[in-house]
């Protein structure tokens, strides 16, 4: 089966209209998720200043929730775009883009490592599809990597290494709680 090699060409080669419609629905769902998460992040969450410095970056949920069969180049480009969108609002050109591309790059190997995504069907990683334990692992790794990248690149020095580390971990924990909370609500 040639189409297993280039799954993103599926809508062009497939004769199944139903499948194309299904993909279209996924695409629209992800576009809405992108816009909503960026707006919530820049208009609400960027003003949350728990303890004066903890700023949860929940928009990373977009990268977590891309369908597993998304081609990797598209994941990278979308991650970059997501980061740049948040950067434009926060006046930190390049900062979030860097962290997002890093998280987007690590996503696929992580999905493979957790044993999901081997079979040919497409799905959105969530608590329901990955299972509670696997999803917690999946989300924690990506969120922590993303937050560490942001906080250390932003500090741009190792002078306050432990302060930065502490801030990053605390913010990552808050983000993780929100992300897992959203997943739990959705599963009901």
């Amino acid at each position: 089966m040639r189409r297993m090699v280039f799954p993103y060409l599926l809508p062009l080669t497939s004769h199944s209209l139903l499948l194309t419609l299904f993909m279209l629905q996924t695409v629209i769902q992800n576009i809405i998720r992108f816009v909503v998460l960026v707006l919530v992040q820049v208009l609400v969450l960027n003003h949350v200043q728990f303890l004066g410095f903890v700023n949860p970056y929940v928009y990373v949920l977009f990268i977590l929730s891309l369908p597993v069969r998304t081609p990797r180049w598209l994941t990278l480009v979308l991650s970059f775009g997501l980061g740049m969108a948040v950067d434009a609002f926060a006046d930190t050109l390049g900062l979030h883009a860097f962290a997002c591309v890093l998280a987007g790059f690590l996503r696929d190997p992580l999905v493979k490592l957790l044993g999901a995504g081997d079979d040919n069907n497409d799905f959105t990683p969530s608590m329901a599809t990955l299972g509670m334990g696997n999803y917690v692992k999946y989300a924690s790794v990506l969120v922590v990597v993303h937050h560490l990248a942001i906080y250390f690149l932003e500090a741009f020095t190792l002078a306050h290494f432990f302060d930065t580390l502490w801030h990053a971990c605390l913010a990552a924990a808050v983000t993780l709680v929100i992300v897992l909370g959203l997943q739990l609500i959705k599963r009901r």
């Binding site: 090699v5 004066g52 434009a88 926060a90 930190t92 883009a97 591309v101 690149l153 306050h160």
Partner: protein, 279 residues
């Protein structure tokens, strides 16, 4: 042919990853100096418009504390007017009419502006104002609030401006101790939004906790004597030539919303004269 595609598909991902990371990193380190970077900042009309709507909402919740701040400032200004009027009357009585009362370095205009976006929880904090180039704002102008120094204008679009907050290690403001006029740069270490650090005060100077720190007037950005903060504590390790001074900032960056941008009238004249000196 098929294998070639597979090969490219495999390594182009790593290549794309590296390309995007290097691009982001370069943009971040370049810090807004690249052409077109104004488009990706909150000076952009779309983003600034969105912020000015959300700013109107949050302003509503800050009305009370802002009123208190403004009435406090009013009281202080009235007090100053009274003192100055007395002095003026004394001076007028004794001097001929040709005396120039405003010194050239004090010829400044204040342009009122409102903050429509502000952060305090990052290492590099920026502020967006609802006034821009068409209101006379230019890069490098100083920004002050009712309590004291706020930051320095970085970029301007037609109707909006971004300000480098005092809470940003990219800028330092030249300050002095009001009591004895010793001056040094004040910068922020990125840790606590309430405190900044004053350096380069030599160890033989007598310091007291509670000493007032004001702008020195040695740069064209801020005129002399604008409050910056008070000394919270200071240390001087053995072998250090200078104090490490922790300054409690006068401005509360978490609730500031009305500011004034300082337009120093003689800036061009002064800078042209200074740049004519041989280096």
């Amino acid at each position: 042919m098929h294998k070639l595609f597979l090969f490219l598909a495999r390594y182009s991902i790593v290549g794309l990853f590296l390309l995007l990371e290097i691009a982001s990193f370069a943009l971040f380190v370049g810090n807004g100096r690249y052409a077109g970077s104004v488009f990706f900042s909150s000076s952009n009309a779309l983003i600034a418009g969105l912020y000015s709507v959300s700013g109107r909402v949050t302003d509503f919740f800050k009305l009370r504390s802002n009123n208190e701040g403004l009435s406090g400032e009013n009281a202080r200004l009235k007090e100053r007017i009274a003192v100055l009027e007395n002095e003026l009357a004394l001076v007028r009585a004794g001097l001929p009419d040709t005396t120039r009362f405003v010194q050239p370095e004090q010829e400044v205009a204040y342009i009122p502006a409102r903050i429509i976006h502000n952060t305090t929880n990052r290492v590099r904090n920026y502020i967006t104002l609802n006034r821009g180039a068409s209101d006379g704002l230019r890069p490098d102008m100083g920004v002050v609030g009712p309590e004291g120094v706020v930051g320095i204008v970085q970029t301007t679009s037609d109707r909006f401006a971004t300000v480098i907050s005092l809470l940003n290690p990219l800028i330092q403001v030249n300050c002095k101790i009001k009591r004895n006029n010793y001056f040094g740069p004040l910068g922020w270490d990125g840790l606590d939004y309430r405190y900044a650090q004053l350096t380069d005060i030599p160890r033989h100077v007598d310091l007291y906790i509670g000493d007032t720190i004001v702008t020195s007037g040695l740069t064209t950005t801020f005129p002399e004597g604008i409050p910056v903060g008070v000394i919270e504590n200071f240390t001087c390790d053995e072998g250090d030539a200078f104090y490490h001074i922790q300054v409690r900032l006068a401005t509360d960056f978490r609730r500031i919303s009305n500011v004034q941008v300082i337009d120093y009238k003689n800036r061009d004249e002064q800078e042209a004269l200074e740049s004519s000196l041989p280096m």
